[in-house]
Assembly symmetry: C2
Homo-oligomer: 470 residues x 2
């Protein structure tokens, strides 16, 4: 054996050195004898303990480098040599490299419609209910969560959305997931690939891209002042329509009852038609009550309702749900009944108590008041700053609104300037899907989100926004 | 107006009653006049406050039941009538109904290989690091998590699996998800639908069903005492092979180095071949060190490594990850770069500190010692109880082992008896994929999981197991 053991505290453990040396010799086919020395012999030669050699041999044995023959000793396996295709190591591609968070973009101002307010999240209450789960639900925590989420949480959600959104559902019909995107992905993966799909234009680009990527023929359908155009739906003749009737994304339109009935009646004409109602931020209404969901008006079980806790709690929590009509639930269970993903049981059980104990309702109510005030300040500041250069689509709902800005800048120029000035700002361009003729003339539409804006930075944010257009 | 307002604390709010009455009259087309009375007039007629009427009108206006014309008053919209296809409501299908958890199956004994031990989970430490996240990472919590998981956690995982599993990866290559199932689903959705896939047989049935459901041609490939058969792989000629080399699921075989190299060399013959190494429970080794992963031996970037925190922490936590070679990472990012799902940011950031502060390593070490002792007790009890009727495949790794039971019962009979006696027990039948000729002669193979068995119930569990075979 031609190797030397380094002793000392800073050296690898002796057994590890023996293991490594022997392994490398075996892999390089440098052991002339197939039989290894006995443990005792090697221990003497290397001047180490028998124990160290025994440990090294055990590891080599476990990994299959050597084998033992009873009363004969240890023998080296006949090890195949590695094939390496390329002579040189391929370096990691530059374009796939990332930066650490700390080195990343820190905005000077944010008008994001995605991020919310974490400062007002009741972390203490959350921890309190989580503590309860940790104490009383260890059995559940040690198991896989139910593929649709715990039944008990689905009961709480069913009761809650019945009260606030008129949604008629049994707990069985609710599927909880890590986002509406993966839920819709699973649901749609069960539909024939030639299923015609219609989405709002402008609209939620993530659903659009998802459906396109899944291979469906997707028609972007235009909007009027009441929401999605029924006439255009009839022209593109889809089987599935994706809508945001409570607060159209991104225009903010609240679909009136008449358009809702027309849309439901369109679906009622054929049992193979479905409407996906994405109720992403309906919890926030400033001035009126909650408006009943499309699902609550549906007479024929053709509406799939989706809701999320991303807006009311935290986007990083990743808890959303969909409510399936019974026939879709059946095929969903057949396909995904043994599917294990979705949010952590710890968070789901915590959410159950959070809802049941009234904390969720109180939080939403508090946030409504808080966002209402911040929104009012923001609108006032925008009006004062931009005067008649701005038109605010002041629909009192949700966590964002549209404005028309009188500017000679193009959409690209606005977006570039925002980027250069470290301002997170989305124009409506992001939400126009294919085929849309976007005029560069006249006023430019901006999406103004206010949830993630710190309340003492409203004035400053508007000032920074103004600097883009000066 | 032909309706009456009920006053009293137990009645709905007055504005709500006015709203509901008017809405129902409008929907039933029972308002003879299209013009509503003025707010003042209606308030007088109903003997309620002007405010209540105003509130009701606002809500009807917001929902689109009425419209207002300046200086003329409020008018009823022309509302389309609902189409209802079926005369009668369809009852919810019996077969889709569920029971509440409390009414569900409570096992008398469990040999589940899925559930783990939640009693020894360091909830206090978890809360401590979570508290840190709640205090110092509010910015991150208010945002969507990175589609691959926070870079900082990926750094921690990269370092950890480099040390324990020899995995060579940059943080960029790690994709964190809610389970290996959804991760593999996304990865495979990018491969051509005629991609030949091979899986171990017996093997992890969830991957098998997933791949079959996705439409891939899947070949179950047999095992010998070293793991998956290279000869059978060559015969079925797949492009992708799914294996569990650290601790074959469910047989427990640890793939020796020679077979590993043969498998890697098979892949190296063509750049379009990939090996998915599911390293689902490699953290648990009783007696030997961790065995280096297949990925660590790969010379050609053709191994996809998947790991999970389901076994070491809690299955209900739903945190797993995969390590992608750069070329697969590229196509993954193109397809899923704007995909939002995966675990909650709160849990991911907590996990980062849990790992970085050494708590994860200490927990795994403690659980190794704990499981080792429980496993030894269980094996002793099994031997004492079943004597020479049982052969234990005593491979000192993981959270389950196989036993051969000498019994005249068939697999179906064993499973039925277990069910009747409220014992969670899986036989190997569950993990045999299609085309497998399972002999009902000779000994029956049982999968004995011990992680979820309470340590003071080992003897009783074995006694209950014995009662099945008496």
């Amino acid at each position: 054996m031609f190797f030397h053991i380094e002793k000392g505290a800073e050296q690898p453990a002796i057994y590890k050195q023996i293991y490594t040396h022997l392994r490398d010799l075996i892999l390089d086919d440098q052991l002339s004898k197939k039989k290894l020395p006995s443990k005792r012999k090697l221990a003497q030669d290397l001047e180490v303990s028998l124990n160290s050699v025994a440990h090294a041999y055990e590891q080599l044995l476990a990994e299959g480098y050597i084998y033992s023959a009873e009363r004969k000793g240890y023998f080296v396996e006949d090890i195949t040599r590695y094939i390496k295709r390329d002579e040189e190591d391929v370096p990691f591609p530059e374009e796939l490299k990332e930066e650490r968070m700390n080195d990343r973009f820190q905005p000077e101002a944010t008008f994001s419609h995605i991020a919310t307010d974490a400062e007002h999240f009741p972390f203490k209450k959350w921890r309190k209910y989580q503590q309860k789960v940790m104490e009383h639900h260890r059995t559940q925590l040690a198991l896989l969560p139910h593929p649709q989420g715990p039944y008990e949480l689905r009961e709480s959600i069913a009761t809650m959305i019945a009260l606030t959104r008129g949604v008629r559902t049994r707990p069985e019909q609710i599927v909880i997931g890590s986002g509406t995107q993966p839920l819709i992905h699973k649901l749609m993966s069960l539909q024939a690939k030639d299923t015609q799909v219609a989405v709002e234009n402008p609209g939620y680009q993530r659903f659009y891209h998802l459906l396109k990527n899944m291979g469906f023929p997707v028609s972007p359908v235009g909007l009027d002042h009441q929401g999605i155009s029924i006439q255009e739906i009839r022209e593109s003749d889809p089987q599935w329509v994706f809508v945001t009737p409570s607060h159209q994304f991104p225009t903010g339109t609240i679909m009136p009852i008449n358009r809702r009935i027309e849309l439901l009646n369109w679906a009622a004409e054929s049992p193979g038609r479905y409407i996906v109602e994405d109720d992403y931020d309906s919890e926030f209404k400033y001035g009126t009550d909650h408006i009943p969901s499309l699902q609550s008006l549906d007479q024929n079980q053709q509406v799939i309702y989706t809701g999320t806790f991303s807006k009311t709690l935290l986007p990083s929590l990743r808890i959303s749900y969909m409510v399936l009509p019974p026939n879709l639930l059946k095929s969903y269970r057949n396909a995904f009944g043994d599917w294990i993903d979705g949010p952590s049981g710890l968070n789901l059980w915590t959410l159950k108590y959070f809802i049941d104990e009234g904390e969720y309702g109180r939080h939403v109510k508090r946030m409504n008041a808080y966002y209402k005030a911040k929104r009012a300040t923001l609108i006032r500041e925008l009006r004062q700053t931009f005067q008649d250069r701005i038109t605010i689509h002041n629909i009192p709902a949700g966590l964002h609104f549209l404005v028309d800005m009188d500017t000679s800048l193009s959409y690209s120029e606005i977006e570039e300037r925002a980027k250069d000035n470290k301002i997170i700002l989305y124009t409506i361009r992001r939400f126009f899907l294919q085929d849309y003729e976007m005029t560069e003339k006249g006023k430019k539409k901006l999406v103004i989100g206010f949830a993630n804006m710190e309340d003492d930075k409203v004035r400053e944010s508007v000032r920074r926004l103004a600097s883009l257009f000066s």
